[in-house]
Each structure stands twice: as structure tokens, then as C-alpha cells.
């Protein structure tokens, strides 16, 4: 029998995500995928899945789910105070649910998003090579829309529920979500910033504005002086920090536009994107310049942390 979870409460914005659809960029389709790729991947590995299987990305207020059959799940990302039948359960660890078990969440204590993985992965619609939900096109995931009350979430691949031993990821191996310092590499158009603004970019404290979503974050803070903001449009990447003529920087996130003509003055490194993904409007952040070599070290450290979950216990 295939395991299913019934949705009692949908949460604020709960969508199916995987690692996105990079091959659709040439058609102007946002790459999409999980905002916090580390937490998404860890959740999958904790239940014995490949990192590319679909998880549930839950934003700010998590859903309430009821297990209709026995299943193995894992919750990662921010700390949303998960409970099974009212009792606190750990995040960053695999967790067995019995038929009728009710997964709910208490107070959000850290971060903006959590990821729920299930052994076998969530069943979802594949669009342009990915199961990720694209809300703009209304494709992928669960009919291209967020999860609603009374939806039934099904497991893609039937698995014996206890084939995987309990696994967990210690805090020391996870990104330091409490440290809102985003490391960034100087961008291709940094020189278009006025020299004073160049140092300001890496010294000022910025606040994630209300006008922020899966496409990108507008940053409130000191305005940057930029010249020549009319560059011939070019391909963009997640983490790119654009500065339009208004001087208000924008950090591109998972659902970013694929091309644009604003100068890119810095790019948040891949190891800092999970931390960026856990910021919410009102959070303060700082950008710190880092060399590509240092960035590779940080990227490898996170990759090694995920590797500790690979094959462990199986």
C-alpha cells in the first residue's frame, strides 16, 4: 500500500520543491526548486532518499498533516517546533509515523522555511524536468499550486517503512542559521558602484524588506550610488545582488528572473544561500566579501556534512 499524508491545515505557503529546472532557463522559465537546498537535501538523505526527490517546502506557518499509513519522514530547515500527537519531536532526524499520527507545529522559533521529506519522495507533476512548483506558470508539483486543506500527499516510490535506520544530523554540521552574515564574491559590475558605495555594500547592515519572496529579496538600508544601470541583458544566477538606479539592492533567490540588465555588484555564495533562504522580512543581514577559494572551502564543508548522511545506517 502506498503511504499518504492528508493535509488538515495547509500552512501559509506550502509547495512541492526539488532541485529545480536549470535546463528551462533558456526558455525564460525560472530555475525554481527549494530555497534552502541544504535543508532540502538533508531531509531527503535522512529518510534514505536521493537528494533530488520532492520535499514539501513550508513557509513561516507549517501545515498540519495526518499519516494515513505508516511512513518515515524528516523535518529540516528552520525550527518550527514540530509535534507528533502533541509531543515535541526532533528536527534534522528521521521520524516514523504510524497510521493516524498527527504532525503539527507550535511556535516558529528560527528561520523562514522548513522542509518535510518522506521515504520514497512525494508524488508530483514533472514539468520541464522538475517536480518543483512554478506558481507563475501554474505547473509542476501539486497542479502548479500551493498545498490546500484536504489534499492528499502520496509517496512516489513505495518503500518498506522501516528500511532505513534512524538518522540525525548534529547541529555542528548544519549551516549556522543564526549568523545572518552572507558571504559574497565581488560581482562583474562592482566597478559601476561609486567607490564609497563599494565599501558601504560590504559594511552596512541591511534589512530584508516586505517586498521579498521566492523570486528575490529587496534590501532596505543605505542607498548605493550606481552609474550605467542599462547593461545589455544577460543570464542571471541565484544569489546575484542587483543594484537598479534606485540604489536599493535586490538579492535573487530560487524563482529569480532568468535574465536582466541591472548591474550585478556581488553574488552570495552557494554556501550562504541556505542562510539567505531562512531570512524573513524584517531580518537584518550583512554582506561580507570572500574569495572564490574561501567560498569553495565553505561549499565543500556543507557537501561533506551531507555526505555523512549518505549510506549511514544502511
Amino acid at each position: 500500500m502506498t503511504s499518504t499524508l492528508r493535509v488538515e491545515e495547509p500552512g501559509l505557503l506550502t509547495t512541492i520543491q526539488d532541485l529545480g529546472r536549470p535546463n528551462a532557463i533558456a526558455s525564460g522559465v525560472q530555475p525554481g526548486g527549494a530555497m534552502d537546498r541544504f535543508a532540502h537535501s538533508a531531509a531527503n538523505l535522512l529518510v534514505g532518499n536521493d537528494v533530488g526527490l520532492a520535499t514539501l517546502e513550508c513557509t513561516l506557518r507549517a501545515p498540519g498533516l495526518v499519516a494515513e499509513q505508516a511512513c518515515l519522514i524528516a523535518i529540516t530547515g528552520g525550527d518550527f517546533d514540530p509535534r507528533v500527537n502533541g509531543d515535541s519531536v526532533p528536527e534534522w532526524a528521521s521520524l516514523s509515523l504510524s497510521p493516524g499520527d498527527r504532525l503539527t507545529f507550535g511556535t516558529r522559533r528560527l528561520g523562514a522555511r522548513i522542509y518535510i521529506a518522506i521515504a520514497g519522495g512525494f508524488e508530483a507533476e514533472r514539468w520541464l524536468g522538475s517536480l518543483s512548483t512554478n506558481l507563475m506558470a501554474g505547473r509542476g508539483g501539486l497542479h502548479g499550486r500551493p498545498v490546500r486543506a484536504d489534499d492528499t500527499l502520496t509517496v512516489a516510490t513505495k518503500q518498506a517503512p522501516f528500511a532505513v535506520a534512524v538518522r540525525s544530523m548534529p547541529a555542528g554540521l548544519r549551516p549556522d542559521y543564526g549568523d545572518h552574515t552572507l558571504r559574497a564574491i565581488a560581482g562583474p559590475h562592482l566597478k559601476l558602484l561609486h567607490p564609497d558605495s563599494r565599501s558601504l555594500l560590504f559594511q552596512a547592515t541591511y534589512t530584508v524588506s516586505r517586498d521579498s519572496d521566492r523570486m528575490g529579496y529587496r534590501l532596505d538600508g543605505p542607498k548605493l550610488a550606481i552609474s550605467g544601470d542599462n547593461i545589455l541583458s544577460f543570464g542571471l544566477v541565484a544569489g546575484a545582488v542587483q543594484v537598479p538606479s534606485s540604489g536599493q539592492p535586490i538579492v535573487l533567490m530560487a524563482d529569480h528572473q532568468t535574465a536582466g540588465g541591472y548591474p550585478v555588484v556581488a553574488t552570495v555564495i552557494s554556501a550562504s544561500l541556505p542562510i539567505a533562504a531562512q531570512l524573513l522580512p524584517g531580518d537584518e543581514l550583512r554582506l561580507t566579501a570572500i574569495t572564490p577559494q574561501e567560498a569553495q572551502k565553505m561549499r565543500r564543508a556543507l557537501a561533506a556534512a551531507l555526505e555523512t548522511l549518505q549510506g549511514a545506517g544502511s
Binding site: F234, G260, Q296
Partner: protein, 209 residues
């Protein structure tokens, strides 16, 4: 050519800062060649640039920059004409009168100038199915609207600077809307999901004719 990091797993190779068909042809050819490499995850041609995402376990910025310079030094490919799309337009957009006033042109003259060239698809991007078309004749060049619209209807035919474009989806937009077409540009159930590809050619004609 300027090659610079765009984060730890990507770089931007800028071939030029000019809007030029021959340079765009080179950028598209360079992106195509780069996509065949095992250490390249994705290569996207811009107007005059290529954004390359690479596998950081197989390549560094330096190794890839050398590879790009080698590939770019090869003889540029022939600019083979891309597929030609004929797009019917009703030139009754909400900005057609304003554009006429600002440029001192009648609606008929705007139609004549806008339908004159065969445009090139320089790149597909920004939002699903959007194509940057150009060059737009100088006589119609206007800066973007000072206040962008929060919602532009799908199918709106627009101009800005030396470019033209068609809004594939209802999105915010700052271009001048001179007409509309019922041709669908974003085809979510096809693969690739858009009508235009970089290098294609586009000819507008007045649907009233």
C-alpha cells in the same frame, strides 16, 4: 572579452557592450559549445555575453575562463538565419497615441516603421517566453516609461530603446504598449515551452491589413 565570477559556481563572459547581431551570434555559438562540456551545467547566451554555471568539483573559474578564451578564439560561425515567425498585431495599444505624440508620428507611420524590419531574437529570458527583439528602428526609440505598469496584459506588443517585445504573461512592465497579438508565446505544455528561440527572426504585420 571580460570574464568575471558570478558567485562560486558561475561566471559571466562579456564579449562586448554593443547591441550587435554578429556578437549575439558568437555568444549563442559559445553557449552551445560550452553546454557540451562535462564541467558545465548550464550556459545561457545574453545579448553579448554568456553566463556559465559550472560543476565546482570539476572546474574552477580559472580553468573555465581558459576554456572560454580558447573556444572564443575559434572562427566565428556563419550567422545562419533562424526560423522566421510572422506575428499579426492590432496596433491599438494603450500607449500608441502617447508614443505618436512624443515622436511626432501618426499611428500609420508607427505601424509602417514597426513592421518594416525583420527583428532578431537576441535572447529569451526575464519571464517565461519573453524574447528581446531588435534592433528597433531609431525613429521609434524611446526610454522606458518612468512609472512601470503593475500589470501588463499578455499579448501586449511593446517597445523600449532599440528593442521590441511581446509580453507572454500578465506581468509588471515598463515598456510602451503599442499593440497586441493573439499569438501565444509561452507554451507551458510544449518542450521547449516557448515559441521563440535565440537566433530566430520575427516579422510583425498589421492585423488590420
Amino acid at each position: 572579452m571580460r570574464i568575471q565570477p558570478m558567485g562560486d559556481t558561475a561566471l559571466l563572459a562579456e564579449l562586448s557592450t554593443r547591441l550587435d547581431t554578429a556578437i549575439n551570434t558568437r555568444a549563442i555559438a559559445l553557449a552551445t559549445a560550452l553546454k557540451k562540456r562535462r564541467d558545465v551545467r548550464q550556459a545561457i547566451a545574453g545579448y553579448a555575453s554568456v553566463t556559465v554555471q559550472f560543476d565546482p568539483d570539476q572546474a574552477t573559474h580559472e580553468s573555465l575562463a581558459s576554456a572560454i578564451k580558447r573556444l572564443a578564439a575559434k572562427r566565428p560561425p556563419m550567422d545562419e538565419p533562424g526560423r522566421l515567425h510572422r506575428i499579426p498585431v492590432s496596433y491599438d495599444g494603450p500607449d500608441v497615441e502617447d508614443v505618436g505624440e512624443r515622436l511626432q508620428l501618426s499611428r500609420e507611420k508607427i505601424i509602417e516603421i514597426h513592421t518594416r524590419p525583420i527583428y532578431r531574437v537576441f535572447l529569451v529570458g526575464f519571464v517565461p517566453g519573453w524574447a528581446y527583439l531588435g534592433p528597433l528602428p531609431e525613429e521609434l526609440a524611446l526610454p522606458r516609461r518612468e512609472v512601470p505598469r503593475t500589470q501588463v496584459p499578455a499579448g501586449s506588443v511593446a517597445i523600449a530603446g532599440r528593442q521590441s517585445g511581446i509580453y507572454p504573461l500578465p506581468t509588471p512592465g515598463g515598456w510602451h504598449l503599442i499593440g497586441r497579438t493573439n499569438v501565444k508565446l509561452f507554451l507551458p505544455d510544449s518542450d521547449p515551452p516557448c515559441l521563440f528561440r535565440a537566433g530566430d527572426r520575427v516579422k510583425f504585420f498589421s492585423a488590420a491589413q
